[in-house]
């Protein structure tokens, strides 16, 4: 008996065989949150490359006004799959990966609350990813109804096959929803139940706050989307008529189901990125996060408001005027907590000692892009203006500034910042800066021209357009190709650094946080002894200990 306990205790100190040095664990059903986190990130990035390739073919088509590069059905499949892959296969999973990796470390837990559920949620991702990609191979091709899959277009099935692209698409999205709900239950439970002693909510890092806020959205929003998807699936396969007008259904009802989740979904994406900004600016400006409590609480204000703004996607749909006005007011409101965050970040940076390393550059670039996207977002909230630019390239430009300009750049910032922690190696700063410059120019060259296009009246989702739009489209296409190129230094950097990079110390950035108190990469189960937290998370310049016994652990570093 005593021997057994002794043995377990010993095992706890030693990494289990092969971990964390053994690369094979990344291809196994590992229940280690750190392995799962990296699995999410890498799988998601592969799909990012696929989705990006589809986008570059689209930009190739759009570089000339005529529909001359690919067939129109192919173009329509491209934009449908581009949007679907980028959301369900890239942004959601990569952010889940970051949250998976970071949250237990940041709150002082050894793993997530439900490690097996965690692994199941992850392994669903490649499964529905393959289902989605398989739709390229079925007769009739992949779904061509856009990532909204609005009926009746999504219910049109020219091949007449039961298993068509749309069927597989709905299946993949439903599985994605199930995976996300599993992840959300796990994440929220972990954050509520598994914080280290002393880590009250107001001592918790902002990233964990934003993850909690984002995952709460998944919990209340996804059921609506999943219900809508199941009804659409029944309409498509067994001829129910929830959404078909000729048999008494209502296509606008689907739009409510869809946007009730899919607008908040944008906040599921952007909230953790806000969390990344809140983590990084204090580190690289060497100052505490300004107005920490305002910043973290505003995340939950955003969560609440995100549930009552969805009709702003439907200002030009079959919605009555009173509804448009009501949702204009709620949409305007949501810019207030967002603005609070932006001002707090600026105040954090202001007067600091800035170090413009790669993560900081990406975070700053992401913040500027987000500022621009926020301003066009308020414009879009205004019904009369939106009526003009709704479903035009203005909207496409706006949300690409959010998703690529802010979210993807924030994700890059996070990957660089925590790369030494995840891999135990340092990345190459020069390649990182090159990656930043190419990305920042590429984003603006690709997405800024979309705004004048939308103002001039070019609808989104078109494979061909009137010649008056050619000039800005050529610029956008060049920007798109540049973004394709920008990924190369990143890949080179990540792969070579992981193999050959300089060994990373536990805390290369002199950052404050529980994850920086353990070795890089952290040992199995993270903490030999669970720390007791005694201070707020951003005590830069205050020279106060973060945990009760920090003396011993910092000396080891």
């Amino acid at each position: 008996m005593t021997d057994l306990t002794l043995e377990t205790a010993l095992n706890r100190d030693q990494p289990t065989p092969g971990e964390p040095e053994n690369w094979r664990r990344f291809f196994s059903f590992s229940t280690d949150h750190k392995v799962i986190g990296i699995q999410y990130i890498v799988v998601a990035f592969v799909f990012f490359l696929i989705g990006g390739f589809l986008a570059m073919v689209m930009r190739g088509e759009l570089i000339t006004p005529e529909a001359d590069l690919v067939d129109r059905t192919v173009y329509n499949a491209l934009f449908t799959m581009h949007g679907t892959i980028m959301l369900f296969m890239w942004t959601f999973p990569v952010l889940n990966g970051l949250a998976n990796y970071l949250v237990p470390l940041q709150i002082g837990a050894r793993d997530m609350a439900f490690p097996r559920l965690n692994a199941v949620a992850f392994w669903l991702v490649p499964i529905f990813g393959i289902i989605l990609m398989a739709s390229f191979l079925v007769p009739g091709g992949p779904s061509q109804s856009g990532w909204w899959a609005y009926p009746p277009v999504s219910l049109q099935n020219p091949t007449g096959n039961l298993i068509n692209g749309q069927f597989l698409w709905i299946l993949a999205v439903a599985l994605s929803g199930i995976s996300s709900i599993m992840g959300a239950v796990n994440m929220v439970t972990t954050i509520i139940r598994m914080r280290a002693p002393g880590m009250t909510f107001f001592k918790m890092p902002a990233f964990c706050w934003t993850v909690a806020a984002a995952q709460t959205i998944q919990l209340f929003g996804l059921p609506a989307l999943t219900a809508g998807a199941v009804m659409l699936l029944f309409d498509l396969t067994v001829g129910t008529s929830f959404f078909t007008p000729e048999t008494g259904g209502d296509p606008v009802l689907y739009q409510h189901f869809f946007w009730f989740y899919s607008h908040p979904a944008v906040y599921v994406i952007i909230l953790p990125v806000f969390g990344v900004f809140s983590e990084l600016f204090p580190v690289y400006a060497r100052k505490p996060l300004f107005g920490y409590k305002f910043v973290v609480v505003s995340s939950f204000v955003i969560t609440g408001l995100s549930a009552i703004v969805w009709v702003h996607h439907m200002y030009a749909s079959g919605t009555p005027s009173w509804m448009r006005m009501l949702f204009m007011a709620s949409t305007m409101l949501i810019s207030v907590p967002t603005g609070v965050k932006i001002f707090a970040w600026v105040a954090t940076i202001w007067g600091g000692k800035l170090k413009l390393s790669t993560p900081m550059l990406f975070a700053l670039g992401g913040l500027v892009n987000f500022l621009f996207a926020g301003i066009t977002g308020i414009m879009l909230a205004s019904v009369p203006f939106d009526v003009h630019v709704n479903n035009t390239y203005f909207v496409v430009g706006h949300f690409h500034y959010v998703i690529y300009g802010a979210a993807v750049m924030g994700i890059y910032a996070a990957i660089y910042h925590w790369f030494p922690k995840m891999t135990g190696r340092m990345y190459y700063e020069g390649l990182g800066k090159l990656h930043f410059v190419l990305t920042f120019i590429g984003v603006n060259l690709n997405f800024l021209p979309m705004h004048p296009l939308g103002l001039m009246g070019m609808p989104r989702r078109v494979a061909s357009y009137d010649p008056e739009f050619a000039f800005w489209n050529v610029l956008a296409s060049l920007g798109g190709f540049l973004l394709g190129v920008s990924v190369l230094p990143f890949l080179l950097n990540m792969i070579s650094s992981w193999i050959l990079g300089e060994k990373a110390p536990a805390n290369p950035w002199r950052a404050i946080g529980l994850e920086w108190l353990v070795a890089s990469p952290p040992p199995h189960e993270n903490f030999a002894e669970i720390p007791t937290v005694v201070a707020e998370p951003y005590g830069y310049g205050k020279n106060e200990p973060l945990i009760a016994s920090q003396m011993t652990s910092t000396e080891l570093v």
């Binding site: 129109r72 100052k287 609070v340 009369p384 003009h388």
Partner: protein, 306 residues
């Protein structure tokens, strides 16, 4: 806050305000030339939003740029910045100001939307007062609306007073255009950028829609709600002409016998049918054949007016 800080902020605002106002004026030129009453209203709103947005962007991005340029840590400086954790007064101010701003924007937008009054009377909720003075120069003696039929992927217009059909939309200038929007198959969207108005068309519903053209010329009507394979080709010309010319056109068109109308999607589809397009593609819903109309209209693109 010291008076020196306030003076500096005022000086900065003094520089940013004229720049923002100037950008706001430029914004008028980013849209097509306005061709409806509604367009004038929307352009004013957009100019206002651009002015405000420029000011905010300059303020925030300028602050960041200054910090990036002048507040960098020296090369071997490992020290921390001042441990400022917040300032309640400042935080309340920057919550309150955006709140006031967005209510201002929402109020202004509400007024503009009310004046535009684009959705039909059955939908619009008339309150006792506050309905803006009618913008309409001459309201026609309540005629039946022009029927706009959308189907994959062709626009067809029916003028009930003259019994005329066309694939080019004709509208009398300075007259409230009243349209009844219907779709036979999927969602479509009625969108004329020069008029700044847009409305989805929902199968199974009839949506009354109105606006007032104010400039003679030819404009583009585009399908704005994704409708399937030939979505991008679903465009038509809109001709705004004087009331007299419009009446003349109606009379002439009524005398014409029905002929195949314009349908770029069906024309393009023939390439597929005749195997002249060898690019690989998937099976598509077939476009509706050319509708028989009194007046097909001109296939020429109008000169873009910017």
């Amino acid at each position: 806050m010291s008076s020196r800080v306030i003076l500096r902020l005022l000086a900065l605002a003094g520089i940013m305000t004229p720049i923002s106002l100037w950008v706001g004026q430029q914004a008028y030129g980013w849209m097509p030339e306005p061709a409806s009453e509604e367009a004038l209203l929307v352009d004013n709103l957009f100019s206002f939003l651009t002015t405000l947005g420029t000011f905010i962007f300059l303020g925030v991005a300028g602050t960041l740029l200054y910090a990036v340029l002048f507040q960098r840590a020296a090369k071997y400086d490992e020290g921390d910045g001042p441990p400022l954790e917040g300032n309640l007064q400042l935080e309340i101010i920057w919550t309150a100001i955006p709140l006031v701003l967005v209510f201002w924007i929402a109020g202004y937008s509400y007024r503009i939307y009310d004046q535009m009054n684009i959705l039909g009377p059955m939908e619009h909720m008339h309150r006792g007062e506050a309905i803006a003075a009618p913008l309409v120069a001459q309201t026609p003696e309540s005629t039946d609306p022009i029927e706009v039929h959308a189907r994959q992927w062709v626009w067809e217009f029916y003028y009930p007073e003259a019994g005329v059909t066309s694939t080019e939309l004709h509208l009398p200038n300075h007259t409230r255009a009243k349209l009844a929007l219907t779709s036979e198959d999927v969602l479509h969207g009625f969108y004329v950028p020069a008029f700044r108005v847009k409305q989805d068309i929902i199968p199974g519903r009839r949506i009354d829609f109105e606006f007032t053209p104010i400039r003679e010329g030819t404009y583009r009507l585009r399908d704005s709600e994704y409708s399937g394979t030939y979505f991008a080709a679903m465009q038509a010309n809109v001709v705004v002409e004087s009331a007299a010319a419009y009446q003349q056109w109606l009379t002439d068109a009524a005398a014409r016998s029905p002929q195949p109308g314009l349908s770029p999607s069906y024309t393009e589809y023939q390439l597929k049918v005749e195997n002249r397009d060898h690019r690989p593609g998937w099976k598509t819903v077939e476009p509706a054949p050319y509708p028989l109309v009194n007046y097909p209209g001109s296939p020429e693109l109008p000169e873009p007016k910017l």
